[in-house]
Symmetry: C2
Subunit: 213 residues, 2 copies
């Protein structure tokens, strides 16, 4: 086992430190975020920091890098108050990764990477047709994180489309059946293997494996 | 495919909605958080909302539920300004889950679930000896999220111990080699399968698979 102090990390070459710290946190939840600008131009970008804020009301967060360069997705969300999160699936993870390229402004990443935009019900921003889990949100609040200028955008879920067969009787969504992909670091992609669902932990007994999995 | 509106979600029975929303976000990054209270009593608890805030300086976040009931970990971090994050590995994920049980105050979860506490260098709070990735942090800031009372605690990494053989030449940490476990919902555990690491996306070309993986 190797030990690294705060000083060791700060003295790492920039690219090495970015890889080290980004993968140190473990696995990350990926989502393709679909937006429109005020002129209706569609935008799609991959994000690796989705956060479950709460279930009642249903709130999700996305962490954005500091707003020092062009951030189309962030600007569109703040401007139009609407966006979508679409889980990256195994069948299109390379296209999802490619959506991170810096295309010219106004150039739709949907077309550039070969994914189809889709509109559901009355939600005003585009979903990814190919996704198995599609979440439409309204902007709820913005938190500027003083520590380093990152920005947490919180939204309330307005619409969900997903495969009904992959929802267990207790409400649990089977992301393995949806072939949902996860990330690590800045560029690594994985699928998941089931270990178990465990019963609610009680001080007096050991957890047992649930049947709904 | 099934559609659920905001109203549908709000009308779900509470336990169903919790399972649905917690698993809807996709996979989650798990960590066992080690703390001490001001009297030196050790505490260990599992958290599923770890967030990579930044690499320079190295900052990680943990999202806590509203502070309406006893939250030993949160109170200890705010009081002592020190804590550890230890990635859950396949060899002890059931013990990690069990650390979520509500033991009597002052009862060490390390002893209750059968994991060993360990102190490294001059870091004042306990690590999980069995973990392959151990991160020592100092409290940096606290953000109260108005939307629903959740609390984001940000810490700066002070010390990392991990298996040197699982760090690639470019700084990327191989969490599959570390047998790091991930979560979904409130009670599901998984390991990861590698798909690929992809080259930095450029508008003119498709990504290629990196060799360091």
């Amino acid at each position: 086992m190797a030990l690294f102090t705060n000083k060791d990390i700060l003295e790492m070459p920039g690219r090495f430190r970015a890889n080290f710290c980004n993968s140190l946190v473990g696995y990350k939840t990926l989502g393709l975020v679909g937006t429109q600008n005020k002129d209706g131009a569609e935008n799609l970008a991959i994000f690796s920091q989705l956060i479950h804020i709460g279930a009642n009301p249903p709130l999700f967060g996305i962490l954005f890098l500091p707003h020092t360069v062009r951030r189309d997705t962030l600007e569109n969300i703040v401007e139009t108050k609407s966006y979508t999160i679409n889980h990256v699936a195994k069948s299109f993870y390379k296209k999802a990764h490619q959506s991170g390229a810096k295309y010219d402004r106004g150039h739709s990443e949907f077309k550039a990477v070969g994914l189809n935009s889709e509109y559901l019900k009355n939600h005003p921003t585009p979903f990814v047709q190919e996704a198995q889990v599609k979440i439409g949100l309204n902007f709820q609040s913005r938190i500027d994180i003083e520590a380093n200028g990152t920005i947490l955008i919180i939204g309330e879920v307005q619409l969900v489309e997903t495969n009904e067969e992959h929802i267990k009787p207790d409400g649990f969504i089977d992301q393995v059946a949806n072939e949902t992909v996860l990330g690590s670091g800045q560029d690594a992609y994985y699928t998941a293997n089931k270990l178990a669902r465990l019963s609610y932990p009680q001080p007096e007994s050991n957890p047992t494996e649930l049947e709904e999995f």
